[in-house]
């Protein structure tokens, strides 16, 4: 394993410190318990707090700032943060309008945020993001995983909170966006958890993992490597089967790189997907291409489709100023 590190123990703290040094106008960090929050706290709005294991950067710390999150709790690599972090973050950003926790649906995140929610003496709600259609959920009570749709949820509810919507409304909007997002990813190579020091999974030079998770978890099936068009077609088929958008619907297409796949390929995937969506009579009204929900240095990508309505479009377009997403400001 070759990674830019001084020690695996100090990785998170050093990386968070770097984030703050690089964006001192945007974010500030608190340690013990560790969370990152806006440099200039909002004065009267629902506080949006997300978080999760590290290794998915820029998610979530890269989305802190005007029009998006108020704070993010930083866990160890691929390990949910702990309730004390969430409570400290909530106390730091609360303006009296309550806290919405945005949580990706994993046992760890769900249990820790749930405990924080119970222990917190501030009014709070939680939205569980579960956009990953790789996991056919019906038989399992745990539902689906939360993946790249999280960015879209955080952007749209971020704009809503900035507009002054109340906690109940924010929760409803976030749930609405989540319901209209579906994602699926594919891995070409594995990621390496720094403290483990070796690949999470083995994969041959001619294999791909269809439906991989953003922690390198196995997906639907192991397959032979094939052309980009064929891969995209499989991913979109699963996504469309889940979302069932009507012909003529407006969509946001998000091509998300997992870390080691170059942008030249991500745009190629966008092109493949666009051709299929054209043929289905769907209109790509908004797009997002890049590494937003990563899995360390895994090569691969996910596609996320989000069916838009006028309100979602408006909120998506609203100004945002964070380290990783910025427009209108």
């Amino acid at each position: 394993m070759k990674k830019f590190l001084n020690s695996t123990d100090s990785l998170i703290a050093e990386s968070v410190a770097g984030l703050v040094r690089a964006h001192p106008d945007l974010v500030t960090a608190s340690f013990e318990p560790t969370f990152v929050s806006r440099k200039t706290p909002a004065t009267a709005k629902v506080g949006l707090i997300s978080g999760g294991g590290s290794g998915h950067e820029p998610l979530h710390c890269g989305f802190i700032g005007r029009g998006m999150l108020d704070a993010a709790c930083v866990g160890q690599v691929f390990t949910s943060p702990t309730p004390d972090q969430m409570i400290a973050a909530a106390e730091a950003v609360d303006t009296g309008k309550g806290i919405l926790f945005i949580v990706k649906n994993y046992a760890g995140d769900s249990i820790n945020f749930q405990m924080a929610s119970e222990m917190l003496e501030i009014e709070n709600k939680m939205v569980m993001v579960d956009d990953d259609v790789a996991v056919e959920s019906s038989t399992f009570s745990v539902g689906r995983r939360g993946v790249a749709g999280t960015t879209i949820v955080e952007k749209i509810v971020g704009a809503a909170a900035e507009e002054g919507r109340d906690l109940t409304e924010c929760k409803a909007i976030a749930d609405h966006v989540n319901k209209h997002c579906a994602s699926m990813g594919v891995a070409l190579t594995s990621c390496i958890v720094p403290a483990a020091g070796r690949p999470t999974f083995d994969i041959a030079e001619d294999e791909i993992e269809m439906g991989v998770g953003i922690h390198g978890e196995p997906g639907r099936r192991r397959e032979k490597f094939k052309a980009a068009d064929a891969i995209v077609s499989d991913l979109l088929e699963a996504i469309l089967a889940d979302l069932k958008p009507t012909r003529g619907a407006e969509v946001l297409l998000h091509v998300n790189g997992f870390g080691a796949t170059p942008l030249i390929e991500l745009y190629l995937l966008f092109n493949s997907a666009a051709k299929i969506l054209d043929a289905r009579g769907l209109h790509i009204e908004r797009s997002l291409v890049g590494n937003y929900t990563t899995a360390l240095e895994m090569a691969g990508a996910s596609l996320t489709l989000c069916v838009l309505d006028a309100e979602m479009k408006r909120l998506w377009d609203a100004p945002v100023h964070t380290a990783a997403l910025r427009w209108g400001i």
């Binding site: 702990t82 922690h215 978890e217």
Partner: protein, 220 residues
């Protein structure tokens, strides 16, 4: 057994986790996300660092402190579950107002801890988690506490833990990260079940050794 001995058990547990590190790690790489060993290790490290602070405390207080500390240091799915286990044990022992742990008062505390995991994780037997070790162990312990002698209890719990751990191999997971894998999780032992089995075995071994070394009733 007093806090001093609890701490001795924790050191033994840490040692045992290191001995089985490769197994534990590869299980979570196979059907998880590869961090379970690291998480458990982090838990052991923070508790071991507290040892001198814990030593003068009564066991219930020690368990509570351990639980609180683990809650804010492990993270992941296993962290809050294990933390809840210690917190509930602390509460249970506090209620019984004993300075010394015996099989008789420790069995209900252990059961309370396991119950706390079930509640917190909304899980039960047969879902391919650490509970497939902990629930049968708690049950057997409850049946034997006050009935059998300490070596017999240790022997039974170790066997139960092993059986429970192995039982997860052919299960479909319905809780935790492996639940997302469907059929693909079958054939792999649950990492949390493995680390619990390793821990229980280490504690039973330590208790047995202590009995061998001294026959004071303080141990059992």
């Amino acid at each position: 057994m007093k806090t001093d001995f609890v701490l001795q058990c924790i050191l033994a547990l840490q040692q045992a986790i290191e001995t089985h590190q490769a197994d534990i790690e590869s299980l979570d790489r196979e059907i998880g996300d590869g961090d379970h060993l690291i998480n458990i290790r982090r838990g052991c490290t923070v508790v071991v660092a507290m040892i001198e602070d814990l030593r003068p405390l009564p066991p219930h207080e020690a368990f509570t402190r351990i639980g609180k500390k683990l809650l804010s240091s492990i993270g992941g799915a296993s962290g809050p579950l294990i933390a809840s286990f210690f917190l509930a044990m602390g509460d249970s022992l506090r209620a019984s107002e004993q300075e010394t742990i015996t099989a008789t008062n420790f069995s209900p505390a252990f059961s309370a801890g396991v119950e706390a995991i079930c509640l917190r994780g909304k899980a039960s037997l047969g879902e391919k988690t650490m509970l497939d070790v902990l629930i049968p162990v708690a049950k057997t312990f409850a049946g034997l506490a006050g009935q059998a002698d300490t070596p017999a209890i240790c022997h039974a719990l170790r066997a139960e833990a092993l059986k429970g751990m192995l039982s997860t191999k052919d299960m479909l997971a319905t809780k935790g990260r492996a639940a997302f894998l469907g059929e693909r999780a079958i054939g792999h032992i649950d990492p949390g079940a493995k680390s619990c089995q390793v821990a229980i075995t280490a504690i039973c071994d330590t208790v047995e050794q202590a009995i061998g070394a001294s026959t004071t009733t303080a141990v059992a």
